[in-house]
């Protein structure tokens, strides 16, 4: 098991006993700790009561969150404490991924146990992945020139060359037959502090405009909508530990994934170059600013 000195791994499930998704989340956690005795289970109810032992433990531990539904109670417990989870799982997402539809039964049945098994196995496999995960954040990036604009207290940049953009505020940087993907400075500004990223599966095939990952901030959950098509050949695992790279350096250290390009010449037909995207982004920012100024002035009257 991948383990650093003094590193503890905790699992914090939803405890929603009134929904089958909560029951499945709980079951996933029990299956993980059954097979991995050094993973510690955290009771969300007790944590919510401010249990001292848990409060101390989560300050230094890697926390795996199992959310039953979008209410995301366990995530909120961690965010309230200004901590970042190591991994977050949503049962509905996993249900779609494994094509196992949970029933609404509150007593575990065969179908729901099957889903819990699949999710638990994935978590265990992930934890067992030793050091094979290279630090993919270390990439060579040439000096880059940027277009930039400051609006109120916000500063926005767009690389001048080498990147292409879609109107969903995501970029692609082709290099030969591969390309890196990421989100733009505009999108990271809109999201505010990014706390968690959900990276795509290695080896998966994506089409242009597919959702290839999501990221979550204290404000919202947003998607990376791919500007290009191809096969995922690398993901930036360092974002799981350092999601703030997306905010600090969205065009370099904050890259999400690398793809082997399928047909970039065709993809390019629906993309913008740096200057075109900069103009598009400026127009969008000014429209938003005018809209907000208008609301403010109406409220002041």
């Amino acid at each position: 098991m991948k383990k650093l000195i003094n590193e503890t791994i905790c699992i914090l499930p939803c405890n929603g006993l009134d929904k089958s998704l909560g029951v499945i989340a709980r079951e996933v956690s029990l299956k993980v700790i059954e097979k991995m005795s050094d993973v510690q289970l955290i009771c969300p109810v007790l944590l919510n009561n401010g249990d001292e032992k848990y409060e101390t433990l989560i300050q230094t531990a890697k926390i795996i969150i199992i959310n039953g539904c979008m209410t995301r109670c366990p995530t909120k417990l961690i965010e309230e404490r200004k901590l970042k989870p190591f991994k977050q799982i949503m049962i509905p997402d996993m249900s779609k991924k494994y094509k196992v539809k949970p029933t609404k039964d509150l007593i575990l049945n065969e179908e729901n146990i099957k889903l819990a098994d699949l999710i638990a196995d994935e978590i265990i496999a992930d934890l067992n992945k030793s050091d094979q995960d290279k630090d993919n954040a270390i990439r060579e990036f040439q000096e880059q020139e940027f277009f930039d604009i400051t609006v109120d207290k916000y500063y926005f940049t767009v690389p001048k060359d080498g990147y292409f953009f879609n109107e969903n505020d995501c970029w692609i940087k082709p290099e030969g037959n591969t390309a890196l993907l990421g989100i733009t400075d505009y999108l990271q500004n809109a999201a505010a502090d990014i706390l968690f990223v959900d990276l795509p599966e290695l080896g998966s095939e994506i089409e242009q405009f597919d959702d290839v990952g999501s990221f979550e901030s204290s404000k919202t959950v947003l998607q990376l909508i791919s500007p290009g098509s191809g096969k995922i050949i690398a993901v930036n695992k360092s974002l799981e530990q350092n999601p703030e790279y997306c905010n600090q350096d969205p065009y370099r250290k904050g890259w999400f994934a690398e793809i082997e390009l399928k047909n970039f010449e065709e993809d390019k037909e629906l993309l913008m170059n740096g200057l075109e995207y900069f103009d598009y982004m400026k127009e969008k920012i000014m429209k938003e600013k005018n809209h907000l100024d208008q609301i403010k002035s109406e409220n002041d009257v």
């Binding site: 997402d93 916000y154 879609n166 969903n168 999201a191 242009q208 998607q223 909508i225 938003e288 907000l292």
Partner: protein, 98 residues
């Protein structure tokens, strides 16, 4: 800065937005009226129906950001469907040449 895209955008990738049929379709057999999608969407795509029937509706389809399907992730019963992306891409390319 707001995280919402401008709702009144008239074009998407150079094609008229009102000619791009991208918005969610609600499967009423599955929808449990939890309104999680409505709470999530910053573009006011959804609303509660104004008639007596307690129902979720797509009130502002053209506010929906083309290719965004983030709200579907909030839908536990999987009641939200979107058009086929490749068809929409083809349509946008065609509209751009008109």
């Amino acid at each position: 800065m707001s995280n919402s895209y401008e709702a009144d955008k008239e074009t998407f990738m150079g094609a008229p937005r009102n000619k791009i049929p991208w918005w969610p379709t609600i499967d009423y057999d599955k929808c449990n009226f939890c309104m999680e999608c409505d709470k999530f969407c910053p573009h006011n795509v959804y609303a509660k129906s104004e008639n007596d029937k307690k129902q979720l509706i797509v009130k502002n389809p053209y506010n929906c950001v083309v290719f965004c399907r983030a709200c579907a992730k909030t839908c536990a019963p999987d009641a939200l469907q979107f058009p086929e992306k490749s068809e929409i891409s083809k349509l946008i390319k065609k509209l751009r040449t008109e």
